[in-house]
Amino acid sequence: MSESNTQVVDLDDPNLTTFDIVREGARRDGIEIVHYEPQYPAGSKGEKRMVRIVSFFFLLTGLASTAFVVAYIWWPWEYEMGANASKLYTPILGLTLGLALIGVGLGILTWGKKLLPHEIAIQDRHDGPSDPVERKITGETLKFIGSELSVARRPALKLSLLGLLPLGAAAAAPLIGGLIKDPHHPDILFKTGFAGATKENPIKLVRDDYTPIRPEEVSTGGQITVFPGIPGGVSNKYADSPTLLIHLREGDAEALRANLYEMNQGSPWQSYVAYSKICTHAGCPASLYEQQTNRLLCPCHQSQFLITDNAKPIFGPATRSLPMLPITVDKDGHFAATGDYKVPVGPAFWEKS
């Protein structure tokens, strides 16, 4: 574009306006300002109106910001139960801050879009590959750098460079090595809080307040979340241990007894059965109990498990049954586990066959 204006502007010419110099400067940067026109004639009604609008917006910002600071300092903000003024603290802060920012935003936008002249400028692009000569020189320079190192010519050097590889390993080792944690020694993924329970030394099932449970406390068709009765058994330290204890109706219990997998034989106690609460799909608690259909639904990805058939998955993405906990009633008359789960609890992984 600048080719059409090849005549050199004498910048010392006293007749030049500032805009002439600006335009000349733009030309030297390969930019042609082809259109530059105020939106409103100076002093016109329209211009005054725009000035008023801009001032209004900035005034709005001033007011809203003041309101923000006043509310921030004096509005009651400390939490109180019930419906009261403190509940309005956050909305008022957001509203006043939002208004203040809208004011300054619209003010600036109106200023820029309406009070500054509208312009069309055209700039040349200089993209695409570089000048062939430049490319050649740079390419040769790079080649030269490579050849000066002359690894190709000195095979011994090449070989010794391989010797530096362990340095990379040395750099990575402390960074990654410190993080690595063996999942198999101890075998944490295959054990829950019920590990260590035996027929002779059962571990009690407890509620989330560590109280034990008697059979008559779970109504027919009812269920309760239980935990291993060991120190910290309820806490997230044993995140794989939450268990659902279900009291089946007599007919359903019979159906379950008929369906029991080999490994689950002897695990239920009378018409009570305990399944792991941790979904075998992604580890959410599969805890939505549909009493009428005897299904457990996991609310995360909607896998459904049939509790009258070993809690095997009957819908959704889960592929494995919920593990069953072998339970009994101990000499105190409380529910207790006589062993750990027979298969690892929770989502599947590579080593879990």
Partner: protein, 533 residues
């Protein structure tokens, strides 16, 4: 002692001279001030992401002053009465304190969360714009890849932040994340125990997520944002075709003062929207969810919107598990590890795929209208439909609940929809694009419909068309299509006066009606040389 008088008027000039004497900046500064930017509303979408990111840095820094990512068990003793005495992690306690015991903390927390949602939304919409207009083509492939990387980094950053408060919802999300890592063949269990420092949840994961959330990822994002903008700056922004616009120029405004002012104003407006949302719309009320306990979950647990598509893919995945030689690949692996992998690699390679497919290795600075590339527009519709089906499936329990549809039916609808709807969307979008193209050509050949019906002597009714250029004997014009809006209404040709301005009452006098206005084609049409280099 003689006091020297400071000439205030000469001060700016003097300081400028002093700066230039040391830094030698007059020339680069001028070319920076003069740099020309093309303007179009669709170029502002990326800015929304940038401005949200700035708000995220500001609010996030504030939150970090009060939050402690500790998993140490404490008894809550703050001012939120319903949770007093409850056992919880220190992280959850400090998040509650931020909401109740820090003055203005809640509005900051909510602004931070809303800004994160807006950040991701702006990235997605910006990405769609880049895709359908072909702005990713040579020479901008690298910036397209950087943009895609930023989507996934933002995704991870958002998820890490979402997990920090250690409430019931985020803890469940974290547990799913651990299951996803577990599902990776061969190394899954090692990766999981290494990251969690043992079995889920362990005692260290929040500290690790914290350093990832407040240091590592923001640093990488900031670096990539800088490179992204620097590349836009160096390669110069693309522009729409139009009068005077060619592949080798940029038509627009110089950066200063008008363009920069408009950007500044727009930043303030984005900031304002985030402030309004942060104050007026509740988000992630962690005090209602309670602390994370491994045994507790509620129905209707949804992640933030940008994670929902992966939740959806997980829900729709059939129960297919591969077991062989005593080893397992769980069904979770495909929708949560393989799918995101494909969704990363395929779009990154797309600029080269398209260049081969369309045999177009050219250098492109002019954008394409979506209608002019029906195949690509169809692909975009296909990808978006795929994404939408997954996102809706991520909330299919809510849909099932609100519309009284069986949950299982929703899952099946999602499974079938995921396979059937995207090809359908491709077909429909492609046909629409072709139809719009054809209509453009029709108007160029026959002119604009005037709405005037003429009866011919033989009784036939015809509509009068206004040709866009001098027409031949049959009323046909031979105008080439140049890749930009074709006027389709008479007032676009200036046949109608502009509407009288004013909201409730006119603020200006209506111009007197023009009796016979000769409609002429815009003379600038002849200058168009776009599309040809």
């Amino acid at each position: 002692m003689k006091r020297r008088k400071v000439d205030l008027k000469a001060l700016p000039g003097k300081s400028a001279e002093a700066v230039d004497a040391r830094l030698h900046v007059a020339t680069p500064l001028r070319s920076l001030l003069n740099k020309v930017f093309p303007d179009h509303w669709s170029f502002l979408l990326g800015e929304i992401a940038l401005f949200s990111f700035i708000v995220l840095l500001l609010t996030g820094t504030f939150l970090a002053l009060f939050f402690e990512p500790s998993m140490q068990e404490v008894h809550y003793n703050g001012s939120y009465v319903p949770l007093q005495g409850v056992e919880m992690s220190r992280a959850y306690e400090t998040a509650l304190n931020l909401s109740f015991d820090v003055r203005g903390g809640l509005v900051m927390r909510q602004m931070h969360h809303w800004a994160a949602l807006l950040f991701m939304a702006a990235i997605v919409v910006h990405m769609i714009r880049i895709f359908v207009t072909g702005a990713f083509r040579k020479p901008r492939e690298l910036n397209w890849i950087i943009g895609l990387s930023m989507f996934w980094l933002g995704f991870t950053e958002g998820f890490a932040g979402y997990s920090l408060p250690d409430d019931a919802l985020s803890g469940t999300g974290l547990r799913i994340a651990s299951a996803i890592m577990l599902s990776i063949p061969v190394v899954g269990s090692w990766v999981t125990t290494s990251l969690f420092g043992g079995e889920f949840p362990g005692e260290i994961i929040l500290s690790r997520l914290y350093i990832v959330h407040v240091f590592l990822l923001p640093l990488i994002l900031l670096g990539l944002v800088t490179v992204h903008l620097a590349l836009v700056f160096m390669q110069k922004h693309t522009q729409w075709p139009g009068p005077g616009r060619t592949n080798s120029n940029v038509v627009g405004e110089r950066m200063f003062p008008r363009y920069a002012l408009k950007q500044g104003g727009f930043f303030m407006l984005v900031f304002a929207v985030i402030a309004l949302m942060g104050g007026l719309f509740q988000i992630n009320p962690i005090w209602l969810f309670g602390p994370y306990e491994a045994a507790v979950v509620s129905a209707g647990s949804q992640p933030d919107w940008y994670v929902m598509f992966l939740d959806g893919s997980t829900r729709l995945m059939p129960a297919w598990e591969i077991r062989a030689f005593g080893y397992t690949i769980p069904p979770l692996f495909w929708p949560t590890v393989v799918l995101p992998g494909i969704l990363t690699v395929l779009p990154m390679a797309y600029p080269w795929i398209e260049a081969r497919w369309k045999k177009d290795k050219g250098h492109h600075n002019l954008l394409q209208r979506p209608r002019d590339v029906p195949d690509r527009t169809g692909l975009a519709a296909m990808a978006l439909t795929f994404y939408m089906v997954l996102t809706i499936s991520g909330g299919n329990d809510i849909v099932a609940d609100k519309f009284h549809i069986s949950l299982n039916a929703m899952t099946w609808a999602g499974r079938i929809g995921l396979l059937v709807l995207p090809p359908l969307a491709y077909y429909v979008a492609r046909r629409i694009a072709l139809g719009l193209q054809q209509h453009d050509r029709e108007v160029l050949a026959h002119g604009v419909e005037t709405g005037i019906i003429k009866r011919l002597p033989n009784g036939q009714f015809v509509e009068v068309h206004q040709p866009l250029a001098p027409a031949d004997d049959h009323g046909h014009t031979d105008l080439p299509y140049v890749g930009w809006t074709v006027p389709k209404k008479m007032n676009r040709l200036g046949a109608l006066g502009p509407a009288v301005r004013g909201f409730f009452r006119p603020i200006e006098q209506a111009a007197p009606p023009v009796q016979q206005k000769q409609v002429e084609p815009p003379p600038t049409r002849e200058e168009i040389t776009s599309g040809k280099h």
